[in-house]
């Protein structure tokens, strides 16, 4: 096949991504500057009012900051949990490796609603954890695990852990075993080998895992809505409210856009600080 005719292979994907992704993203940016409409998605005029409303009210600013904080803590916690697991899974001769791998993948196969639902059973005031602790006489009053930021972070950590473990694992698997062996033979201690050799070599996986988990946490709706019980709201929850309950479409668009820009900016700063090469 010649280069010319070969481009036809790309055509359907190009059309799909242009018409239904690129163009809608342009549309949503302009829509965020429209006035609210009556019975229509947006009104006639253009305005900065939607953004003015976001940045003049502490409610929306605080909520966005809280959403960013939840994303950042979730990313950090998943990273700390994922690193040892990824290194263990990358070992080729691991006992029951297939099973361990299956367990890591399993959350991806179970719907996000079901997983969050499982956490409500575990974390609720009458949930498994609180009741067990009470039966053992360790606590008198239930620990506040649900309807707050803590519960959202616990559940999000679970939901997105595979997205951190898998890229780190494939990066670790790509490391030539003779490299850490050489470091050891030159007298490096175990900890030094990890810090100076293994972690830098696993860095591409760590970076893509962090970016993926952070972006997914910021835009996640189901988990914060169910675990937060609509008492703790993240920006994504407010966006859905604005779109579906109060029909303030331009405002919803402005809010989603603000979150995406702030989140994207954070990712870029993170990428610059860790000097990422854009290889996803």
């Amino acid at each position: 096949m010649r280069q010319r005719t070969a481009i036809l292979l790309l055509l359907p994907a190009a059309i799909l991504l242009t018409v239904f992704l690129a163009v809608p993203y342009v549309t949503v940016i302009t829509s965020a500057f429209r006035t609210p409409g009556e019975g229509t998605p947006f009104g006639e005029g253009y305005t900065l009012g939607n953004f003015g409303r976001i940045f003049s009210q502490w409610y929306y600013i605080g909520q966005a900051l809280n959403t960013m904080l939840i994303g950042a803590i979730t990313t950090l916690v998943t990273l700390l949990i994922a690193l040892p697991v990824a290194f263990q899974l990358a070992r080729p001769k691991l006992f029951l490796r297939g099973l361990a791998y299956g367990i890591v993948l399993s959350p991806l196969l179970v719907g996000i609603v079901i997983r969050s639902y499982g956490w409500t059973i575990l974390l609720g005031n009458n949930g498994v954890i609180n009741r067990t602790l009470r039966d053992w006489g360790l606590i008198d009053h239930p620990l506040p695990l649900m309807y707050n930021t803590l519960g959202i972070i616990i559940a999000l950590t679970h939901v997105f852990l595979p997205f951190m473990i898998l890229p780190i694992m494939s990066a670790v698997q790509g490391i030539d075993p003779s490299v850490p062996a050489a470091a050891r033979s030159l007298g490096a201690k175990r900890f030094t080998v990890i810090r100076r050799v293994l972690l830098p070599l696993a860095m591409p996986g760590i970076q893509s895992g962090c970016i993926l988990v952070f972006v997914l946490s910021l835009s996640s709706y189901v988990t914060p809505a169910l675990i937060g019980g609509f008492r703790v709201k993240t920006t994504a929850v407010t966006v859905v409210d604005a779109m579906l309950d109060t029909f303030q479409w331009p405002f919803g668009a402005a809010l989603a856009l603000t979150l995406a820009v702030v989140g994207g900016g954070t990712v870029l700063i993170f990428a610059r600080l860790t000097r990422i090469k854009w290889k996803t």
């Binding site: 096949m1 280069q3 070969a6 481009i7 292979l9 790309l10 359907p12 994907a13 991504l17 239904f20 992704l21 163009v23 809608p24 993203y25 549309t27 949503v28 949990i81 040892p84 697991v85 290194f87 361990a100 890591v104 959350p107 991806l108 196969l109 179970v110 719907g111 996000i112 609603v113 079901i114 639902y117 499982g118 956490w119 409500t120 059973i121 575990l122 498994v128 679970h158 852990l161 898998l166 993926l212 972006v215 910021l218 835009s219 709706y221 189901v222 809505a225 169910l226 859905v240 779109m243 579906l244 479409w249 919803g252 668009a253 989603a256 856009l257 979150l259 995406a260 854009w278 996803t280």
Partner: protein, 260 residues
Amino acid sequence: MSRWTLNIFCLLVYIFLMAPIIVVIGASLNAGAFLTFPPQGLSLRWYVTFFHNDVFLRAIGTSLWVAAIATFFSVIIGTMAALYYVHFAGKRKEWLRVALISPLLLPEILTAVALLFFLYGVGIGTKTMFGMLVGHVLMTLPFVFMNVSASLESYDTDWTMAARSLGAKPWVRFRRIVLPLIKPGLIGGTLFSFVISFDIYTISLLLKSIGTATLPIQLFDYLKTNYTPEAAAVSSVSILATLAVVIFVEKVVGLKVHKF
């Protein structure tokens, strides 16, 4: 960290990963009217309730349809794009890859809002299932592309060269040589696409038309107001069905997951 602390730590993580899934399945076997774990008495009554509940059955039907149609399109589009990407992209390879997996990198909530505006802007709206289907194709495309391109890159191009030198035309080469060789990636991509589509929430919520709630939406809606173990029964059936399909595919064709 010694080897033992590492193993114990990992074991705890595996328990953490399995905990909510086990709890849901356990709670579904409750004999009582309230959601408790461990269950108070074992019974399948909530499964019976669920199998008589049209709302959930219809939602499962909708989900299966949407996942099947979306997967059909994204497998074709994604495989074609992967063929171009591996064999013809040349210098633009990196850019092309980022573009093709961009639906995964962009926040789903903004994509959903953007599609909603776009659909109303061009007058399609959400009266039909078109918008939801397009959203699902977009979100599943990266998974097909990643799986298929990974298996395309790992096979030996000498095979197609040999076929070519023996006079095989492009279509024959694709069907007789390339297709059998990339079968694992293709099946992995199809499976992933189907499972991902079955799980999509935000896009479905914003783009659904009236009466086309998918299972995740129906389940979430139910959970907002109800606390009976019926939701756990629905969830368990969904979990076990997925597990059955994955194990079946793994046993029959051998699954290779190229997710990243």
